[in-house]
Amino acid sequence: MRQLGRFYLIAILLFLYTPIVVMMAMGFNASPLYELPFTFSTRWYEALLSNQPLLKAGANSIIIALITAVIATTLGTMASVALSRRTFRGRSLLQILLLPPIAIPWLITGTAMLIFFYWSGIGRGMHALLIGHVALAIPYVVLVVGTGFKTVRADLEEAAMSLGSTPVHAFFSVTLPLLYPSILGAALFAFAVSLDQFVISYFLATPGYTTLPVQIYSAIRKGFTPEINAISTLLLLGSMAAILIFARFAKPGDTRDKR
């Protein structure tokens, strides 16, 4: 029975990873029509270097993800302080209001943003993408930092204040250093959320300002070469790295034994 269980788990991992590995391998195959037998080549990665639209979209994606991480982490951590440490009326309602960005299908949120941004004159483009990405990342930041708060005892801060520290000073010198891993984890998470976001970007991008996933999508639909495999491989490895580092910092789900 135990043997069967392990065998099954290996089968599941094969199911999850085979297409990804095949896609990555095809980025190193010389044939532009994905023909086999496999001939190793780095020509598609070399071609990437001169593919201006893809490179520009990639740079846009990284810049947006960085700015999103900074803004969402700052705002989300502030909100998390209030939601984790203060008691006030309407707190549970505010917590529920964090759910729509996560729970409503992005197709609905994305089209709603398109309508509102058009109607209100905000328009599309980089700033619109930023507004959308930050909104999607904030709930995750509040969640991750909120989990971190559970491991930092409130009485440490109170002790500092009873010893004459101001609340602000107590927060910055006692709580914040203890929260540091969670906050860094939340920032990485926000970065990954933004880097992988496609649906909302798709509706808010303009022909002149796109992100990598939007560019990849239009390439997939219009015809493509293994260059798309090459850039997709880089994108996958990038977000996998961000998530693995996040897992090291924030230890999601592990709230008891670190204190």
Binding site: L98, F116, I138, L195, P213
Partner: protein, 304 residues
């Protein structure tokens, strides 16, 4: 001695010019919350309200045609019966994806809990969840490499049987469901695992030593214990799947017409925003109804 120092600290504190009268708590609480909720208002809540307003308009208000308020967009399901069929197809796509995820994910969670321990289990969990946090679009694209004619699957087949034809299922509904299951399976494994990991091994051993067969253990212990995980996993999968558009587009081709792709078309091709808005809101109503039905189970999970 100690008391003296405390008194000293207090007097020093009171003359210290840096110590100001503290602001009332609600001021700082509001200041902490305002940026986040202000941002969400502009990015999420106002857009949803605007979309609701648009869904009652007779035409996209950007040409010269006068715009009237009407309920006609919501009559689309009656006026254009093909939309009903597409809606039904979307629900079926959600149903099959959820069902396969539930079976495969539940078994994987059982295997994780029963057949692995410690470091191995941790590594396996990370490996299972890792693809979930990578780009969904790229993962769907990966499947085209496997499923296309003369793709990976065909090549494997031809290694075994060189004369066999193509078994390409790209651009069929099977391909769409396969891609969606691939995308959402880690969710179900995680929710079932969280539910099952609390089971005491002793319960299962006791049942087995009292003569319970494996199917009795499955139906009387494992499935009831995993039920909250199965339900919340199903909700978290079904909702995004019925709103998906890029998976059906890429893997389904011409047969991949769903509510998602119809809505996408209204915004990118047909430029009929009011119809797109009303279809989006119909979809949102379905989503909210599902959340309302299962809110008890979902809340139980976040609390526990």
């Amino acid at each position: 001695m100690q008391n003296d120092q405390l008194a000293l600290a207090q007097t020093r504190g009171s003359v210290d010019p840096r110590v100001k009268r503290p602001l009332p708590a609600w001021v700082s609480t509001t200041a902490l919350l305002l940026p986040t909720y202000g941002w969400l208002t502009i990015a999420i809540f106002l857009p949803l309200l605007t979309m609701l307003a648009f869904s009652f308009m007779s035409a996209t208000p950007m040409g010269k045609t006068p715009v009237e308020f009407t309920l006609k967009q919501y009559r689309a399901f009656i006026d254009q019966p093909y939309l009903l069929r597409i809606g039904f197809n979307s629900l079926m796509m959600g149903f099959w994806t959820t069902l396969f995820c539930a079976i495969l994910g539940f078994l994987a969670a059982v295997a994780l809990v029963r057949a692995t321990v410690g470091k191995t289990r941790e590594t396996l969990l990370v490996l299972i969840l890792l693809p979930f946090w990578t780009n969904g679009l790229v993962r769907v694209f990966s499947w085209t490499m496997v499923l296309r004619e003369n793709g990976f699957l065909d090549n494997i087949l031809h290694m075994v049987a060189p004369d066999a034809g193509s078994i390409s299922i790209l651009y069929t509904r099977y391909a769409v469901v396969l891609g969606l299951v691939h995308g959402y399976l880690p969710y179900m494994i995680l929710t079932c695992y969280i539910a099952l990991v609390t089971i005491d091994d002793a319960i299962i051993e006791a049942a087995a030593s009292l003569g319970a067969r494996w199917w009795t253990i499955l139906y009387k212990i494992l499935i009831p214990m995993a039920a909250p995980g199965l339900i919340s996993g199903a909700v978290l999968i079904f909702i995004p799947v019925i709103g998906s558009f890029m998976e059906p587009r890429i893997l389904g081709g011409r047969v991949g017409v769903t509510m998602g792709t119809v809505i996408e078309d209204q915004f990118t091709q047909a430029f009929n925003w009011p119809l797109g808005a009303s279809l989006s809101f119909t979809l949102l109503a379905v989503v909210l109804a599902i959340f309302a039905t299962f809110s008890g189970v979902l809340r139980g999970r976040t609390a526990g």
